[in-house]
Symmetry: C2
Amino acid sequence: MYGEAVSRLVVELKRLPGVGQRTAERLAFHIVQMPREGGLSLAQAIREVKDNVRPCRTCFNVTEADPCRICADPGRDRSILCVVERPQDVLALEKLGAYRGQYHVLLGAVSLLEGVEPEDLTLKPLVERVKKVGSEVREVILGTNPTFDGDAMSLHLRSALEPLGIKVTRLARGLPSGSSLEGASKAILAEALEGRHTV
Amino acid sequence: MYGEAVSRLVVELKRLPGVGQRTAERLAFHIVQMPREGGLSLAQAIREVKDNVRPCRTCFNVTEADPCRICADPGRDRSILCVVERPQDVLALEKLGAYRGQYHVLLGAVSLLEGVEPEDLTLKPLVERVKKVGSEVREVILGTNPTFDGDAMSLHLRSALEPLGIKVTRLARGLPSGSSLEGASKAILAEALEGRHTV
């Protein structure tokens, strides 16, 4: 229907999350029609990310420096470690600005369905990091997603870390702030009820 | 929040249509985490589009050959010309498969609001193309979007082409007003093509 270069671009764009045929075509035609410099500068930005961004060897967050900015920051609390699935989760917590500890990125989620085991993730480096002589970690917060698979990961982490005398906590579950009871799923309501506490 | 390369990529992605901060971050993190070859091949596809795709000198559709595939096709009806705003509109009509004439792409739309006049588009080359010795064009279909500004363009085209003895028709108002050709279903497009009439 359109030429080879455009077809190839559509195919490449469709690999991106949430981009189907129609969106890929819309983006491709936009790129075709944008000024040449704009297109090349997008291509260059992608190249640079692939060339310069890698996982931090300490926490596995994406970084251009190694160790990453957070691991290297002497102002961050080294006694507390939040374990999350993806770099995006670090970003979400950093945007919040309320967490001053460090992170460990699993680079994925345990998935029974897709056969992803805790061993496929960065669980081993996490345990080594906590065990290491000189480690100041006293508490590990499980920040995995509130899903069945996230829970499975929680159990794995707890059994790996509790023997080391580390306090293992997890992010609270309940009704999302600003939502309504009416709109909450049964699972959300059940957990909200389960986790009720004195006020 | 994140490093320079990722920030730059987010900025570049936000220039794409329909991509806000959140989507740009999601896409950027996906690109960061995809295999290196995948990222480079996306960057390369963008580069190639910018290097190889240009407007056809006859119809101004985007093309990798010049004249484009449609202008060069001896099987297409040269007596009929459909004038559309953007290359995407050609794609939409080609996907329909019911139109066997040729095209002329205006590379934009008249916009009173944004001060885009017919003279800023490829109106002059269109008139020259129709006037040219040997031109077989007998009918020009106005395929501009069914909007107020599209109508303004219709009037301009009619006054430019009717003196040349060209029959000027326009797509029927089967198209929902205020929408775009790109977003129209095949059924809507087919009705619009079928119901075209003299203006």
